[in-house]
Subunit: 164 residues, 2 copies
């Protein structure tokens, strides 16, 4: 069994595997401010949009994670990257999120981005908050009760920033 | 000469007048993180997108301002509004920005939004920063050197928030 994930650009043929990861994340609605009833096509068109580069992460030959990388703003804000990540429930606790995070920081730097920003990290998502802090991201914003969590109710969302 | 602006929903026929306001704002690239070379159609499709409600503000019978109102996030973030505003150079200093701001806060409240967030207020845009503070917006985030200002160089962008 591989212990190191491999990460490569997503291909059109990966859409079903990516959807298998995204669907439970979207339907739960606990981590992303995306509509919970987004259709498969709409979700994949978003995740694999032409304005971003998307990747898949494999463990033991199976796609178990995915992320996208794009600019966070246009114009004078184009030097700041933004990413979204998702991990299969089957692969939790195996370091896939961290591996994708490190990969994305490296990719962003190679593409000339000078910083990375996450606009909306749900504070109740403890694993994400812990990961970003451990990778040197600073909390540069706090959005009060900006997220209606389906279980926890209104919770803050955080803005995280790291220079590259 | 009217001293009170009138504000109404934008119509398709308003596109040329709206573009006359947006074009110099976009080309200057000093206030919005939007591509400076955005075409007229792309800019108007954005400003008048189906995901938002757009308005025009008239002074003396002429369209001199425009703004849009939309949700800032989807899913669990849908209760927070977001707006963008632009004023014609011909109407600066006549209270049009403030009139549109007040109008947008009222509209957002009527539509059931519980807060308003601006994601990216360029700090060098002193008029905007002053306006939002005077209307009770709080700085809930500061993005370090997030905007490459064409004149001032790298400047911070602010995240502003107000409950409704």
């Amino acid at each position: 069994m591989d212990t190191q994930p491999s990460i490569r650009p997503a291909e059109r043929e990966d859409r079903p595997a990516i959807w298998a990861i995204l669907e439970p994340v979207l339907r739960a609605g606990e981590t992303y401010a995306l509509d919970r009833d987004l259709t498969e096509d709409a979700a994949l068109d978003y995740w694999l949009g032409t304005d971003r580069t998307s990747f898949v992460a494999l463990l033991d030959g199976e796609i178990r994670g995915t992320y996208y990388l794009k600019r966070n703003q246009a114009g004078g804000g184009s030097h700041v990257a933004n990413c979204g990540y998702a991990v299969s429930e089957k692969a939790r606790g195996r370091g896939l999120a961290r591996a994708m995070a490190l990969h994305s920081l490296s990719e962003a730097g190679q593409r000339g981005f000078r910083a990375m920003q996450f606009n909306f990290v749900v504070e109740a998502n403890a694993a994400a908050v812990h990961l970003w802090r451990s990778l040197g991201f600073a909390e540069v914003g706090r959005l009060p009760k900006a997220f209606d969590h389906p279980v926890d109710g209104p919770v803050d969302a955080l803005v995280f920033w790291r220079d590259l």
